[in-house]
Symmetry: C2
Subunit: 215 residues, 2 copies
């Protein structure tokens, strides 16, 4: 059975690996699961055929025979549940790793997305400059707490897990802003994620699709 | 073994049931699991003792013997994994129900929280009025899509699941704004959630803690 995911035909980040398909590619690489990719244009994402797969008109999606999933968190969790390598066997440790997946998506990512919204959708508004410090402060509130919890550990709870995969991916989205540089242990944590061979393969695969045209 | 959750000593919503402990109470009620509640003041939430349990200084948390969890999504998922009643047995249906949990928390809730932030943290700013339509439009974008997907079904994917519990809980947060009234099928969906006996018991339990003083 071939597993097929969807990705942007052309990612808005030009191949920086910040689109959410990279997270799913990374999870698939960590567990050694081959996959196919169907590229979707911005136009096609809002068409009925894609909306039938993803009700919110986004990528990635995940298709495996009769099963169709959307939502990056749900897809990564599904992969982690069914293949070894992303969740510990011990039940309590597993529950804690899943907690970090939710923390990445529900607590850390929303203020980071809000920063991108402030820049790209409200950057031309009269309030853009005055409002920016508020938006950045909300990210700092969370990064401070996350930095305090991580301390000098390599990963958030024992060995590398789907929780770390998701948290590193979310933190990577702050890279263009430079905000992460103020938290050396978080920057080192993200770097530990990036050097993993599975991440490298995932990054290369999305870059092959999205790299800027030569010349 | 007693399961203990944390909740606000005094919820900012004055007993409307919108604090996140209501979601966990609801899940516990759906599966018939008794629980104890430890109330936490706003001051204590930022103290080391609570931060050791919840690194982001929030409620709810979940303690069951040696296991301590935070993040509402992770707690509800943990309850749903270990007790019957919130996730279907069929593996594919289960994966889809989990998808809706993530969709509620990652896709639908962030713009709703942003509306509350715009009102309560930026309501006195010079841009508050001019910016509000943008913030509301982002919610409408999602509610339109969700409404289209739900159609005239009772629940998001077959029978009631943890995905519905989370989605109804998230949509309830829009009630003070009146935004939900424009989507009759979503309003009816939320009402179906609210009349469930388990929700009623969860609501009553949080109301007993938070109801406004008499007189």
């Amino acid at each position: 059975m071939t597993i097929t995911i969807t990705a942007f035909e052309r990612s808005p980040d030009g191949g920086k690996g910040l689109a959410r398909d990279t997270r799913v590619r990374w999870a698939l690489e960590e567990v050694g699961q081959p996959y196919a990719v169907r590229l979707v244009s911005f136009g096609a994402m809002k068409e009925p055929a894609h909306l039938a797969v993803h009700p919110f008109g986004q990528i990635p999606t995940y298709e495996d025979g009769d099963l169709t999933l959307f939502e990056t968190g749900a897809i990564v969790f599904h992969i982690a549940q069914h293949k070894a390598g992303l969740l510990p066997d011990d039940a309590d440790a597993r529950a804690r790793a899943i907690t970090w997946m939710f923390a990445a998506l529900s607590t850390i990512e929303p203020p980071i997305i809000e920063l991108q919204t402030a820049k790209f959708q409200e950057g031309d508004k009269p309030w853009a400059k005055a409002r920016m410090p508020l938006v950045q402060d909300r990210i700092h509130d969370r990064l401070k707490q996350l930095s305090a919890r991580l301390g000098d550990a390599d990963w958030l709870d024992g060995g590398f897990s789907a929780g770390d995969l998701m948290m590193v991916s979310v933190l990577l989205r702050t890279r263009p802003s430079g905000l992460l540089d103020e938290y050396p242990n978080l920057a080192a944590y993200v770097a530990r994620g990036e050097v993993r061979p599975a991440y490298q393969r995932a990054f290369a695969a999305q870059y092959a699709v999205n790299k800027p045209p030569a010349g």
